[in-house]
């Protein structure tokens, strides 16, 4: 029987009512008295020296209040990279300054070099057009291989070969891996591109800066996945505003997918401008501006090799990757292609030897950073494509080849050759479930039916493991992280027994307001309706590292349960006093504190009231009040895993691929709200199918973004996608967090692209028109061209 509330129930989302009635409050919806508007002057050249910017004409335009250029921020700090990566030779990465506004040079189309503040949006835009900027255009550096090969042409004048770092993982493995390849009976080699994507949260970025001259306090409303990190970056690195004088509020946020993790220059600009003007300054991106200036994702060029025995036993795996970081280092850009990618290259397999090399390259393109999955989709795609190709080369069944090489349940905890320790899993179980749910046995019949309509049907799969809830802080610090990766929560029990929970995670679609309340409800035995989840406001919540990397429940949820445990522990002390019993004899169950073996009890509400009206209370030993905060730093990552199957039909005349079925067998550990978990998988799979078939971000040779709107960037639409079959019954709970949860936010986007591509390759092979590989997206024209090469 499905539960109807608490942990494990598909509780309906409480946040839905405001969204369904138009009462959501997103940043762009906020109108402040006296607000002004910012518009940004963005470079239409990929690479140029700024010779001069004449602001006089703009300043004289009607309604224009102020003009800012890079010179206004020359004395303040840059927006830093959050992770220091060392090269193979031990030297630290190259770390150019990322200014609020471009200064000296513009480095990508869309790079903001000035901002105009005016009374209206239109006046600000007119002011931008009146700017007299003179540029000396430089050759654009777009292609990564050319960027590395041509040291004289530099994105940053001080970085000779445009390489941020040349990273090896694990360098000590390299010789053994190379030796294994020399003696291997079979080597499969695949060169592939992991296509560049734009996250495209439906809400464009927006920010409002508000300075109060009376208190000298700043407030920033912004579209952020982690307001505390934004506050920290603005305060400690960029503008130097004291942290206690800056309140960052991320109200309702319309999706993020990674793109709103980072601090962007526009946020600093509206804050600085509000101080200068003494009025609120608002900026809302349009979609083209978002395409030009949001952090993009993926963009790897990889050669991957798999060494095998003739029977399919994996012997060794190695990769060489060029990872595009764009023109500047966005906050998580250096860790995404390294510790979130290279460490995953063992996948769910017991490959004994793995070596990963990543060169991260500056180009005259928008910054590239974590996008849903962040490194793990790149790793999974590379592994699952080369495994599939190896099966075809050796004449082995791709399903059986995977199973043959799985890490088996008896091997956990399992330390991979790329230094992760998987705590638990059962990869065969999810594969078996996939065989069942995808009706693999019935595939031939469906293929024959497709053939009768002139279509080529194919079946592809991927089996994968990923890592969520990046941690622990001590380890990541040793690896170069400049932040901790714990989270925090405060549980405030009000005198009447209802509860406010202030959490450091940020919900921008994930449903935390509902799920977190379910957890607290189950733990305290009080109705979900009596619990409010508060997030997104640095003035209200203790601290937090926000939401990304499928970490919210595994990390912040764990902090929350720790805080609830403290509430219960204090409640027991109060109850012991009130019930005149020993604290050790108090048990807490179903919302009641009772004396074990008796019918003496106090309700949770009575204890809460007593804590705030402490007339009968152990004041000499216990503080009044009932509010607890906990910080939680995980002992390890969590390791969700699963098996995905995709069935496609290819139209051989046009090359168009239609997804006929998509099946997911996931292991997320314990599931708090199945409805929400399934919704997360649906969305992730849609983005993965989008990457595999539809989406691509392209720059031409001059560095112009040729996919800067929905006219050319193919967003997945309802008629591109099937109904999905999603299952999470194969659960091996996480062994090291209190809820046994692993995280589900990114899995769909991680596991799905190779399943789709493998299905298309399978369809063509079955039709007797084999193609070794097609790079994503497998658009009709690309599939047709590959079939007719």
């Amino acid at each position: 029987m499905p539960k109807d509330s608490g942990i494990g129930a598909s509780s309906k989302r409480r946040e839905d009512v405001r969204f369904l009635t138009g009462r959501g409050k997103y940043t762009a919806d906020i109108q402040l008295h006296g607000q002004t508007y910012a518009a940004f002057a963005r470079s239409n050249m990929a690479h140029a020296r700024i010779v001069s910017i004449d602001t006089a004409a703009a300043e004289a335009m009607p309604g224009v209040l102020a003009v800012f250029t890079g010179a206004d921020f020359a004395a303040v700090g840059g927006n830093p990279a959050g992770w220091l990566i060392n090269s193979r030779d031990g030297t630290p990465m190259k770390e150019p300054k990322r200014p609020v506004l471009a200064h000296g040079k513009v480095r990508h189309v869309g790079d903001a070099y000035a901002a105009v503040i005016a009374e209206t949006v239109e006046q600000a835009q007119a002011g931008v057009e009146a700017l007299g900027a003179v540029f000396d255009e430089l050759p654009a550096i777009v292609d990564m291989a050319a960027a590395v090969a041509n040291p004289s042409n530099r994105v940053h004048d001080e970085i000779a070969d445009n390489v941020c770092y040349d990273w090896g993982w694990i360098e000590d493995n390299r010789a053994a891996v190379d030796a294994a390849f020399k003696s291997a009976p079979h080597v499969t080699t695949l060169k592939l591109i992991n296509n560049r994507l734009v996250p495209n949260a439906m809400e464009p970025r927006a920010s409002i800066g508000v300075y109060d001259p009376g208190t000298e306090d700043y407030k920033l409303y912004t579209t952020s996945q982690n307001p505390h990190l934004t506050r920290l970056l603005v305060a400690a690195f960029v503008l130097g505003i004291p942290e206690h004088k800056l309140n960052v509020i991320a109200p309702d946020v319309g999706g993020g997918f990674g793109s709103k993790i980072y601090h962007y220059g526009e946020e600093a600009l509206v804050l600085a401008a509000s101080k200068r003007l003494g009025r609120p300054v608002k900026w809302v991106a349009d979609r083209t501006e978002s395409f030009l200036s949001d952090a993009h994702g993926r963009d790897h060029v990889t050669t991957i090799q798999l060494a095998l025995e003739k029977d399919g036993t994996f012997l060794a795996l190695r990769t060489e990757t060029l990872a595009n970081v764009g023109a500047y280092l966005s906050n998580f850009s250096t860790v995404t292609p390294t510790y979130l990618h290279g460490t995953l290259m063992a996948g769910p397999y017991k490959t004994p030897l793995v070596y990963v090399n990543v060169k991260t390259v500056f180009t005259n393109t928008a910054p590239v950073d974590a996008y849903r999955g962040a490194g793990r989709p790149e790793a999974t795609y590379s592994i699952e494509r080369v495994v599939d190709m190896a099966a075809r080369e050796l004449g082995l069944d791709p399903w059986e080849l995977r199973a043959k090489n799985f890490i088996t349940p008896d091997m956990f905890p399992y330390t991979t050759p790329v230094a992760l320790q998987y705590d638990t899993g059962n990869y065969q179980a999810t594969l078996d479930k996939l065989v069942e749910l995808s009706d693999k046995a019935g595939f031939e019949g469906r293929a024959a039916e497709s053939a009768s309509r002139g279509k080529l049907r194919g079946l592809g799969l991927s089996t994968w493991v990923e890592a969520c809830g990046i941690a622990p802080s001590a380890l990541v610090g040793a690896l170069g992280a400049r932040i901790g990766l714990y989270d925090a929560a405060t549980v405030r029990v009000n005198p009447t027994g209802n509860i406010s929970v202030m959490v450091g995670a940020h919900s921008h679609g994930q449903g935390h307001e509902t799920v977190f309340a379910q957890v607290v409800s189950s733990m305290l035995g009080i109705p979900e309706a009596n619990i409010d989840i508060v997030h997104g406001d640095t003035a209200k919540i203790p601290f937090g590292m926000g939401s990304y990397g499928s970490r919210s429940l595994a990390v912040c949820g764990s902090a929350m349960t720790k805080a609830v445990d403290k509430i219960i522990a204090k409640g027991k002390k109060i109850a012991a006093h009130m019930l005149e019993a020993a604290e050790g004899d108090i048990v807490f169950e179903n919302g009641n504190f009772s004396v074990t073996g008796t019918d003496k009890k106090k309700t949770f509400g009575e204890i809460a009231f007593s804590a705030y009206v402490p007339h009968n209370y152990p004041l000499e030993t216990l503080e009044p009040g009932l509010e607890e905060t906990a910080f939680y730093d995980p002992a390890n990552f969590t390791y969700p895993a699963g098996a995905y199957a995709c069935e496609v039909e290819v139209d051989p005349e046009t090359g168009k691929v239609e997804v006929m079925a998509f099946t997911c067998a996931d292991d997320f550990g314990n599931v708090m709200n199945p409805m929400i978990v399934e919704g997360q998988v649906h969305g992730g799979v849609a983005q993965g199918i989008g990457q595999a078939l539809l989406e691509n971000t392209t720059y031409d040779a001059t560095g112009q973004l040729t996919t800067a709107s929905y006219m050319d960037y193919t967003m997945p639409r309802a008629d591109d996608l099937p109904m999905y079959v999603v299952d999470h019954s194969c659960s091996t709970p996480c062994t090291h967090n209190p809820l046994g949860v692993k995280g589900c936010g990114e899995a769909g986007a991680i596991g799905s692209p190779p399943a789709v591509v493998n299905a298309v390759i399978d369809a063509l092979a079955r039709a007797g028109r084999p193609v070794a590989h097609i790079d994503m997206p497998l658009s009709p024209s690309r599939v047709w061209a590959a079939m007719n090469a």
Partner: protein, 262 residues
């Protein structure tokens, strides 16, 4: 957007005189014009909205049997009101944009803009339609003059389009996956006097007739009649979504499908 005024005349005569002023531009649904205004690609002084002109609305049958559509008639109205009289045209209208776009976009607006990937030009050329303006009648074969270029004079208004109703017809649209405009669209129409085949989306020169296919299909209206034909990729559009060779190939595929479905 730059600043401009909007006028909403209720007669063709009033619209024509308003459009005679410098800086005036017609607004006929605006589903293409408004996005280009947002991108600050145009700076009219005044927009003359044509959608409030009653005499430019609606679908009817003329004395000669052709289907007449008022220039300000929306795609949604054509989808509904042409469904029994000219199903292939109604079907084409139903594939333009999305439901909300079809509730605003008009046949006159589409033909006046002559986007090389729009659907209506294929129907107009494929049927040998007559484009009726406030001053004259223009045969479709004379009307289309390359992408975004037509025989219309400055300020001239498409008041009506007359489509000869074929015995058989079909439109096949292979969409550009992002914009959902036609990557290749083919309109095939069979008349007593022969077959017309018009292709949109494919050519650098905008909509065009595939005359070799017309000859073959006029002799034998069957998909197999096209087997020996190929389309020269020279002059086809090359972009992110398809090479000239791909488009040339698709023209034949879509033409065959249109014939089979007609």
């Amino acid at each position: 957007m730059y600043a401009f005024e909007i006028e909403r005349p209720s007669t063709i005569a009033a619209a024509a005189s308003a459009l005679a002023h410098d800086g005036a531009q017609a607004l006929s649904g605006g589903q293409t014009l408004i996005p280009s205004l947002k991108a600050r690609l145009a700076s009219p002084e005044v927009l003359i909205s044509l959608t409030g002109i009653g005499e430019m609305q609606g679908v009817c049958i003329a004395d000669d049997g052709s289907l007449c559509i008022g220039g300000a008639t929306t795609h949604a109205t054509v989808t509904r009101d042409a469904a029994t009289k000219f199903p292939a045209l109604a079907h084409l209208a139903s594939m333009i944009g999305d439901p909300a776009v079809r509730n605003r976009g008009t046949v006159g607006g589409s033909l006046a803009n002559n986007d090389p990937s729009a659907c209506y030009p294929a129907a107009a050329l494929g049927t040998g339609a007559t484009i009726v303006t406030n001053t004259r009648k223009i045969a479709a074969d004379d009307y289309f003059q390359g992408m975004f270029s037509t025989a219309l004079h400055e300020g001239e208004i498409i008041t009506e389009v007359r489509f000869p109703v074929p015995h058989k017809a079909n439109y096949q649209k292979f969409v550009q996956p992002a914009s959902r405009f036609a990557l290749v669209g083919v309109f095939v129409a069979k008349y007593a006097g022969g077959v017309r085949v018009a292709v949109t989306g494919a050519s650098d020169s905008g909509v065009f007739r595939w005359t070799a296919a017309e000859t073959a299909l006029s002799a034998n209206f069957a998909a197999s009649a096209l087997d020996g034909l190929t389309v020269d990729p020279d002059g086809m559009i090359a972009d992110l979504h398809g090479t000239p060779e791909y488009r040339a190939h698709l023209i034949k595929v879509m033409t065959k499908r249109a014939v089979a479905a007609a």
